[in-house]
């Protein structure tokens, strides 16, 4: 096992494997983080990919005073805010900025990202038909009736499958959600 520090210093020396490792460790979380600022997922991905390209080009002059992780989160946040400020994206793509430092803490956001990842991973474990129905409903915002038409099933079946999907996800995550609520109540 490599430590994060040695990975970071290898990356700074130009080691592509270390770069890949850091990329894969943080990519999806950073994208989720970016979507807290910009609602368009493609824009979020673009911001994160741009950042990774840039730090690779500039690795020699990079000054990472804390950890690479906090550096990346800080940079994503900054780049999102810059993009919003420069109005390069249409106002409809800008999410209401919830991340005002005095309302929501960074820890809360990280917890939220972790929860979203866990939910996503659990969805992947659903039987394929049920998963498809759930994804059409939640990711593509289709109505039950539309899903039923698309998959040639009855709306009643869709309703039942959605119930079963949520039951399964909840069963899987209930211990985690318990801790989460506990943490929230401690704050």
């Amino acid at each position: 096992m490599q430590t994060t520090e040695s990975l970071t210093s290898k990356f700074l020396e130009g080691d592509i494997q270390a770069y890949e490792c850091i990329f894969k460790m943080h990519y999806s979380e950073l994208c989720l983080f970016a979507t807290k600022f910009v609602s368009c997922p493609d824009t979020a991905e673009e911001i994160v990919q741009d950042l990774f390209c840039k730090i690779w080009e500039k690795k020699k002059s990079l000054h990472i005073e804390t950890s690479i992780k906090s550096y990346l989160y800080g940079a994503v946040r900054l780049n999102c805010l810059k993009l919003i400020r420069d109005k390069k994206i249409q106002s409809k793509h800008i999410k209401e900025i919830k991340l005002n430092s005095d309302t929501i803490s960074f820890e809360d956001v990280m917890e939220n990202i972790e929860l979203q990842k866990k939910i996503y991973d659990t969805i992947q474990q659903l039987p394929s038909q049920r998963r498809k129905i759930f994804e059409l409903s939640r990711f593509e915002n289709l109505k039950y009736r539309e899903i039923a038409e698309k998959l040639e099933l009855s709306p009643k079946t869709i309703e039942n499958q959605m119930g079963k999907a949520l039951k399964f996800i909840r069963e899987n995550l209930k211990d985690y959600l318990k801790i989460l609520v506990l943490l929230f109540s401690l704050k």
Partner: protein, 308 residues
């Protein structure tokens, strides 16, 4: 209640009749567990909206730095100091048939011994990389990242070790080259070495036995020092040698090597010299030798060790 999840979802979407809504609310109030189920599903429902998976493998293919096609060909060399782990491999880069093949050896957690095409020996330290051409007719050149010991076969063709910033040229000798983030060190064990900045070969510094050449990237200058220890070769021959070394230098090397803090509380010791040859060195062995030589006490303190 049967299928409560179905009802909760409809509740969250506002698809329930007032009567059904009352039913759910009554169910929620029945006990804490029910309320918890409701809240959990509410969270999952909210957080799963527009949830997108960001595929890092796919994205990596898009942004990864372009590199010449590489493929694994064979593995050779043997471990001389098996440490913790894993990997050693040779990559075969640049497989264009008409050109000379470039070989790259890289180590992670093992020290490896390699023979170059001219049968010069290289001992490559952990986390190091060496690159050279497979066919070397009129030149003998290698590129080094990390640290390596060289035992160069005598020949009329100069043997050159390049690093990012420096060039070390020899005809036949034993020496070690170490690169760190901002410096390059060359330590000569035998023979004669020419050490220079990569682009300034005319400003060469000649190093001979027990000389250390240091090039600091920030100072952009080569310094020459004489050493009384073999601190640059301990990693491959597993022996620590002090040869009439000033006491404070000994302490600084021990601190570095074993990553410990040592405080010297007896000023008399600072004028002393130390000679020893310690095989398979560890701090206990070194401490024993120091105690024997100077009749001093070494005690453990909060921060490290105190010598007095």
């Amino acid at each position: 209640m049967e299928n409560i999840e179905v009802l909760i979802v409809k509740y969250l979407q506002n698809h329930l009749s007032p009567k059904e809504k009352d039913e759910v609310d009554t169910w929620r109030k029945k006990n804490l567990e029910n309320e918890k189920v409701f809240q959990d599903i509410q969270i999952i429902w909210k957080e799963s909206k527009d949830l997108k998976y960001f595929d890092s493998d796919k994205a990596w293919k898009k942004i990864k730095p372009k590199k010449k096609k590489s493929k694994l060909i064979y593995i050779t060399g043997f471990s001389i100091a098996a440490s913790i782990a894993l990997l050693f491999s040779i990559w075969h880069l640049n497989s264009d048939k008409t050109t000379n093949k470039t070989l790259e050896f890289a180590t992670l957690d093992l020290i490896k011994e390699i023979y170059l095409p001219d049968s010069s020996k290289v001992i490559l330290n952990k986390n190091s990389t060496i690159t050279f051409n497979e066919k070397q007719e009129n030149s003998r050149e290698v590129f080094l990242k990390g640290e390596a010991f060289f035992e160069v076969k005598k020949s009329k063709i100069p043997f050159i070790v390049s690093t990012k910033t420096t060039k070390t040229e020899v005809l036949g000798t034993k020496f070690t080259v170490q690169t760190t983030k901002d410096s390059t060190f060359v330590f000569v064990e035998e023979g004669k070495v020419s050490f220079s900045e990569l682009n300034l070969p005319e400003k060469e510094v000649i190093l001979t036995k027990n000389d250390i050449g240091i090039f600091n990237n920030n100072k952009q200058k080569i310094e020459k020092k004489i050493t009384t220890t073999n601190q640059f070769s301990t990693w491959y021959n597993n022996t620590l040698i002090f040869n009439h070394s000033p006491f404070l230098e000994v302490i600084s090397i021990i601190q570095q090597k074993f990553n410990i803090q040592i405080q010297v509380e007896n000023p008399m010791l600072e004028n002393e010299f130390f000679s020893a040859k310690i095989r398979q060195p560890n701090k206990e062995k070194v401490f024993e030798a120091l105690k024997l030589a100077f009749n001093c006490e070494i005690i453990k303190s909060e921060k490290g060790y105190i010598i007095r």
